[in-house]
Symmetry: D2
Subunit: 352 residues, 4 copies
């Protein structure tokens, strides 16, 4: 391999589910080397103590979080922290020359007022925030390629936007009729001891939450508005499903042209995503199951038109921790580094 050198990367917030997914994927990435894992509460412990199943393969400690040191040791930093922390760290890391991929909500919004309203936090880094690019490669590939700071999308927005984008971009639907009924596994709730996430509570049960007020709503709307060219409001309802991983977004919208049939839309979607290796449009009459996407970075999209009601129904399935989180961030890194977008990412789902 001669003078081959792997790019040193760091993960801040390595102890959560997003973090461990990043570790697992980046350890197998052919161009990078994980050299730093950071965490607050677990600092000082070997990573293998948090996740014993990785102890044989990940011989790194969890270290304290010091942007100065991280900046010295790494070229790419993934921030997998609770909302409101990345915006404190990112400016320093950027100054040190790192590429920064933030998995929280901190750099997803072009208008920080929206952020402040929905996340209850004043922001002082508006100059930095203005340079951030929304990390959904299927929509913003070229801008991601030139960015130094990425606000990676939320899990629900990823599934929702991949379903909605071709429709909005091409003006096929009446935007205000769009409804996203989303369903997620409980790993989306994180590795924290909440009663409602216990197996005894969540298993064999199902319910909606955050109805009309989930924080992913303004994020979905921001991108939909960008695509539609005018302000769009979306009805978004998340549900907790008794499973570990996976998101299904079932999207309803009224077609402008009631003459469109299913196969027209399949053609349109395939054209829209023809350069997107991580999106697959299902065959006619085939609907995606979340298990298909589990373990891969794929998004599967199924389409149906109801000639009786004039609505299109789009179903998109992802693994919430991969395409919905860690995998997508790595996809963005690949693009930023000029590598193939698929590098080091799992293409084949884990089935059954």
């Amino acid at each position: 391999m001669g003078n081959f050198r792997r790019v040193p990367v760091g993960i801040v917030g390595a102890s959560g589910y997003g973090g461990v997914q990043l570790v697992r994927l980046l350890m197998d990435h052919p161009e990078v080397e994980v050299v730093y894992l950071g965490g607050e509460s677990s600092a000082g412990k070997p990573f293998g103590e948090l996740y014993p199943h990785l102890a044989h393969a990940v011989n790194l400690p969890v270290e304290e979080v010091d942007p100065e040191i991280i900046g010295d040791r790494t070229e790419v930093v993934f921030l997998s922290l609770p909302n409101g922390l990345a915006c404190e760290m990112a400016p320093k890391l950027l100054e040190k020359g790192c590429l920064v991929l933030d998995l929280s909500a901190d750099y997803r919004f072009t208008d920080l007022t929206t952020y402040t309203n929905w996340y209850n936090k004043q922001r002082t880094d508006s100059a930095t925030a203005a340079t951030a690019v929304y990390g959904l490669p299927e929509l913003y590939r070229s801008r991601i390629a030139e960015a130094q700071l990425i606000g990676c999308p939320g899990c629900y927005p990823t599934a929702s936007l991949l379903a909605l984008s071709p429709l909005l971009k091409q003006g096929l639907i009446i935007p205000e009729t769009a409804i996203v009924d989303a369903k997620s596994g409980t790993s989306g709730g994180g590795r924290q001891g909440k009663i409602n996430l216990l197996l005894a509570e969540a298993d064999n049960s199902l319910g909606a939450y955050g109805v009309t007020r989930h924080r992913h709503t303004p994020e979905i709307e921001q991108i939909c508005s960008d695509l539609a060219g005018h302000e769009v409001m979306i009805q978004f309802t998340p549900h907790l499903i008794p499973m570990v991983r996976g998101i299904l977004a079932t999207v309803y919208a009224t077609l402008r042209d009631p003459g469109l049939v299913r196969d027209d839309l399949i053609t349109i979607f395939r054209a829209f995503y023809r350069n997107s290796p991580w999106v697959r449009i299902c065959e006619s009459g085939e609907y995606p199951q979340t298990k298909w996407a589990c373990g891969s970075n794929m998004c599967y999209i199924g389409l149906e038109v109801d000639p009786r009601t004039g609505r299109v129904i789009v179903m998109s399935a992802i693994d919430n921790l991969i395409k919905g989180q860690a995998g997508q961030a790595i996809q963005c890194m690949n693009i930023m580094m000029g590598w193939d977008e698929t590098l080091g990412l799992p293409k084949l789902g884990f089935y059954p």
Copy 2:
């Protein structure tokens, strides 16, 4: 007990999940005695061989299905058969003087053309069908009280209609905006060896099916049209959820009066269901979980209004095998017999 006599009841199709749920509930019902269990493929076997956990309590064989004999031995008959079989048997049982509660789709439709279109079966019993009453007591209590033949609602229609009825009956929504995104446990698929219902396939997965063409659509529409006073089309999408029991229907519709708030609707729903012991409207801000309903005949309904979009979101949760099937049939029987509607039915869910 003096001359107390329990009413003899029979169950045809006792071997399926609907059947075993009927057996379990009717065995504990204080006014009836299960005297007959019928089945095709399992005829001749003791019932305890099909369900060994009931062998100590249910000492009955599964018998062949002969309407003549069933009519002689029972006064109330529950038909829990695949679609298209009840309509062959019910006329004979009615002639013998039995009350008949059919859990299939055969007697749910006032217009048999709809049935024939969606279920691919010609019908020759239109005179009988014309006497059937749709067995949703919360809507048709008084007609059920006088009926001899009940077409018990499907599981999805039960959850959907209990959520939609107050809105449609009082003209609160624009009917054509109504969307029902429904989610069901896999027991709704019955006790049959289908690949997609295997634990290895269905667990930790989630997907829609029958999109735009599920057979419960015309059933929901028929009752919605009756309530609205004119023909109504509903968007209905069912999903298979990795759990055994339970249905959640998430219903979206645009309010006619955008000034209505959540608590207005809670008041309206509570008034609508004030005489319905099996429906509970959740507190303000509380959303039902299917586990709440599991093991009881309850339907829990939660309400939310989105002032931004002008939509109401109604969530209703039931146990698909109890309020969605066997329990509701027994509720109907109670009404037909002049008993208290709650007699012999479980009020307290099985939690956790």
Copy 3:
């Protein structure tokens, strides 16, 4: 009903899974009335706020825990508290004349040294403890009938002892060969936010815990020793299973008489339990599934003999929260009150 009066009962520790199961069962018990619910952290809240699905049926507040007041208002008290608390309260309740059924470990041991060694707590109530009876009715029915204080068995010991008792009592096995490999659903871990009980961690996983040192070991051994007539050591290994409810104990032991066959043992077990309505010995070749027991107070026992190895294998299945906890306590109460042992308890499992 004339001068019929229900017996007033109280539940201390109503907010946990044992507590809510007691509430659910006692609400349907024909001879008692729940008049008091107590809890520390939830005192002051309506019970329906902790378990919204019961709000329509249980109109009681959670009250502070004052033995004086509880003693005045109730005749029977169920204590469903963490270990080490019941022994502080029980003496006062007994003094007030209450029957006390303790679901914790506090009154399970005849030798308090064992308790202190395994539970790290000094005890000052040895006089009270000496009057306690171990609440496994299948073994100690007549002593329970005369007791005022019951130490209800743990969930694992219930399943284990019902499998082992006929073998030990009749000297059929070599006691020191006995191994109990036990498997439990996660509700046994209680309603607390522990990481390892999260659905995301526990679902689709399986592991042993407390190997060689689980606190149910000395409890099992105490009763086994009592049955064998000499001190017996048992190998006990619990496992956490990705399900909500249910325990299966798989018991291995070497037969003294290698000529015994399966059907001999079935006969012996049936004779042993002939007066025990809550134990069912499976048919020859039939092995119990925990789902059979789920929702009922039943224990199902299956038997197999391996002629090659000379071992008997006994499998016993219970619902850990019913026969393993709340149901068994009520069974004891029935016996103490002179009622039928089956009164108010569910006989038919909740299937599927």
Copy 4:
């Protein structure tokens, strides 16, 4: 890459869970190319129709099974067929010069009488069978390296033998005291529509099956006898667990030397497996969870000694479809081809 050539491999029986796991792993293997997929019932269909989630990546049809043609086109053949079919095909494939890895039971037994007794099939290929090597690399690495035909171990035997081998090989236990209480996810039952494998039946339930007579018993005993140097009988009991993947074997045996402590055994096991990259011995006091192994080819082994009873308890966890089936076969292929044993196999489990 110059004249780099991938080795052409074929999979017969590609439609089952073992088959799809082979496809997924072999597609990512750097030295091979999957050129043939065979199946009986699915012949003629594109593989992507059986598993739509792989349609974007696996562009191969399922072809009819003709050993002549398979032999011409491939150098390595994996047979993933029901028992009794491989022995019809393997001789022809070997004659054509292929390396053959059989995942069924057909070539696991050195004594075909045992096979015939337990699998009810007469065999006519004893000369071929005599050349087969049992494909457990941790025990038979050097023989595998020289074999042309491998009988890959069953899933339960893999977990059981990795736990038992160091103990038996070093004479640390009394062999006849060994008991294997094994627990498996339902994917081990295959992709077939059996009632007991339905989610509605298997979820939230647990039971033993095949007690004293499971076909993996003689397989475990054959290898144990080989290790012990004399005939050994093992008590083996499998259980079905409500999860998709994973096996945990809990092994009990009496130590010859009661003075051995846990850390002695950890040292012994680590020495035994020091050249086995796919086995990890847990830290002292750490017990493996099946989820740790899920998605990787790892086997995690935990150890405990009970000084009270003189028994060792060994717990081993694997992914039944990877280390228990497809992954292990590929591990064998790597060894046969002279490649690194870890080539192309996942080292990092899929968590959570």
